[in-house]
């Protein structure tokens, strides 16, 4: 990408401060989550400013995907049962659902969120198989990996609409059409937003390189995990709403080798069995998406 293009992206992303629907707790929450040590009370206090987010968080916590049979009565209660970090990821999910005004969506936002939340869940499910992986970090990375897609919708809508249209028509991966047509991809625009928001470095790495894992300098295993999960989602019904005409060979993908080098227990994962397990979670993801994102303001 030309430096002038990078400057254009940064400049246009800087102007996104006018997002009307972004919950007030969102950015402080992001800052909080970027820290190593967080106190329960800090999160509870922050969320108490936004009762709508708090209520939604409690509903989401009772989804089968998060594993609570009964909806918790309070944020503190949810933290006691699920752990602080799990509740943080739920809060993040709820906030992100409201962060985009979505007037200019290039596809049904429900489809987009199914992919993002699906990817978050797949990242965590793979991490659960790998003893030393950080599950909540994996979830967050999966959830955020495609935020550049929304940036494209918001500030590059004129350039992006025909890109999306051609990708759908020809069944080509989106980032390939973006690169060919616009000279940059949602990884580049996502990076600009992630930097503006001050997201953690490893999440920025994921957003920037999930389509080119080998270009990643730091946090390669996390980037590889998101890359694999993204592909799996696109092959198992949590796609961008169109048929991608290609074969995906995950085990021959360089990302698989990177992940395997970091986590030797990947060896024991039966990929076919895992794929079938994912299929069982797809319906839960759909339910959760309508719960969190179905009422996003400005939805067409």
């Amino acid at each position: 990408m030309k430096p002038s293009l990078a400057a254009t992206i940064r400049e246009r992303v800087q102007r996104i401060k006018t997002m009307p629907a972004i919950p007030a707790v969102f950015l402080p929450l992001l800052k909080l989550l970027a820290r190593e040590e967080v106190q329960v009370d800090e999160v509870v206090r922050l969320v108490s400013y936004d009762s709508a987010i708090a209520a939604q968080c409690l509903r989401v916590a009772s989804s089968p995907l998060f594993g609570m049979a009964q909806p918790p009565k309070s944020i503190k209660g949810a933290v006691m049962s699920l752990g602080l970090r799990r509740v943080e990821t739920i809060l993040l999910t709820c906030c992100l659902g409201q962060a985009f005004p979505a007037k200019k969506w290039a596809l049904d936002p429900i489809v987009f969120w199914r992919h993002s939340l699906g990817c978050a869940m797949v990242c965590r499910k793979i991490s659960e198989k790998l003893a030393s992986a950080d599950r909540e970090k994996a979830y967050t990375a999966g959830l955020m990996h495609d935020i550049g897609f929304m940036v494209n919708c918001l500030v590059f809508s004129k350039e992006f609409a025909p890109v999306m249209e051609r990708a759908c028509r020809e069944g080509i991966p989106l980032h390939e059409v973006e690169q060919e047509t616009m000279g940059f991809t949602h990884s580049d625009t996502g990076r600009a937003l992630a930097e503006k928001w001050g997201l953690a470095d490893d999440i920025i790495e994921v957003i920037s390189h999930h389509h080119g894992v080998e270009d990643s300098q730091a946090a390669q295993p996390l980037v590889a995990l998101v890359h694999i999960s993204d592909l799996l989602c696109r092959m198992r019904g949590m796609d961008y709403g169109y048929y991608e005409r290609h074969r995906v060979d995950l085990i021959a993908d360089p990302a698989w080798a990177i992940l395997h080098k970091e986590y030797h227990d990947l060896e024991g994962v039966d990929l076919v069995q895992f794929t079938f397990e994912l299929d069982e979670a797809v319906e839960d993801i759909h339910t959760l998406v309508s719960m969190v994102f179905g009422s996003a303001p400005g939805r067409p």
């Binding site: 592909l231 048929y243 074969r247 995950l250 990929l271 079938f276």
Partner: protein, 302 residues
């Protein structure tokens, strides 16, 4: 088919015990396993007992011991064993059973094969429907390929080989007549284009689709016959290997691997997997389905 009736091989029992089952059933089960590789786990023994019951009624024997003699001591024992195999291998299926597999074939695999073969003088596509049962999958493939022969595969020679162990199924398949249950996934478009009406409940596949498919009886455990099934571009073997134990499965899969051309694909049923029975195939994902790919020579991954 020749059967060696010397002492029954080590029983491939999944679970010990199973009290209350006549031990002759286990002898029969082991015999069936030996000739066909079909492995009836203890919890599936009832499938065999049902099948034996029906055969005993047909041939008019009253005790299981007598039936065992029919299967092993009489001159026509091979014929009876074949009848029993017919009883225990009838599967329930329908046309257009897996749309994601058909999409993968038409949208990804055929364009890929077309590109590979474009330089060859005779452009030929060979597809094998292994364990074709009563022909539903085979004709589904025929109709989909006929659709493509109007576009991508213009001027191509298309061959579908369809085989099954069950010769009764093969005979039914040749007729190509199906009722409402088998046709439940078939759209009006295909019904109008590729079927003729037999009566108010049944449709028959039109000759142009039927002539694409060659049906024959084949035992996947028959090594000498398997060696002849060469030059396949795609093999479908859906919900067949579930009857096999690991050893027989692995043998059949190795055959499939050598039966395929380089760059060819192998499909299993939607909930089946090769597990770790073969490490030469690459597991690949297509939207909504998985398959196994025999790497092409140029990919350098063999």
């Amino acid at each position: 088919m020749t059967i060696n009736l010397q002492p029954v091989m080590t029983p491939p029992l999944a679970h010990a015990g199973g009290e209350g089952v006549d031990p002759v059933y286990r002898q029969i089960r082991d015999l069936v396993y030996k000739v066909s590789g079909i492995y009836k786990a203890e919890e599936k023994l009832y499938l065999l007992t049902d099948g034996c019951g029906r055969r005993m009624k047909q041939v008019g024997v009253r005790t299981l011991r007598e039936y065992w003699d029919r299967l092993t001591a009489r001159p026509d024992r091979d014929a009876e064993l074949r009848q029993l195999l017919n009883e225990v291998t009838t599967g329930e299926t329908c046309l257009f059973r897996s749309q994601p597999q058909l999409d993968a074939l038409r949208k990804v695999i055929l364009p890929e094969l077309e590109a590979q073969k474009t330089k060859q003088i005779t452009r030929r596509l060979r597809i094998w429907s292994a364990g074709c049962s009563t022909g539903e999958e085979s004709y589904t493939l025929a109709m989909n390929l006929l659709e493509e022969s109007e576009r991508l595969l213009q001027g191509w020679t298309i061959e579908i080989l369809a085989t099954d162990l069950n010769d009764r199924s093969v005979e039914t398949a040749k007729a190509g007549i199906y009722g409402g249950y088998a046709l439940r996934n078939t759209t009006d478009y295909y019904k109008r284009k590729y079927f003729t009406v037999v009566d108010e409940k049944k449709l028959q596949v039109r000759p142009e689709a039927r002539k694409l498919v060659t049906f024959s009886r084949l035992n996947l455990q028959d090594d000498s016959k398997m060696l002849f099934m060469k030059g396949m571009d795609v093999i479908f073997c859906c919900n067949v290997l579930i009857y096999f134990d690991a050893a027989s499965k692995s043998k059949v899969i190795n055959h499939f691997f050598s039966n395929l051309n380089f760059g060819g694909y192998f499909f299993l049923g939607t909930s089946e997997s090769l597990m770790r029975l073969n490490d030469q195939f690459h597991l690949v994902h297509f939207p909504g389905t998985i398959a196994y790919w025999k790497p092409s020579l140029s990919s350098g991954k063999l």
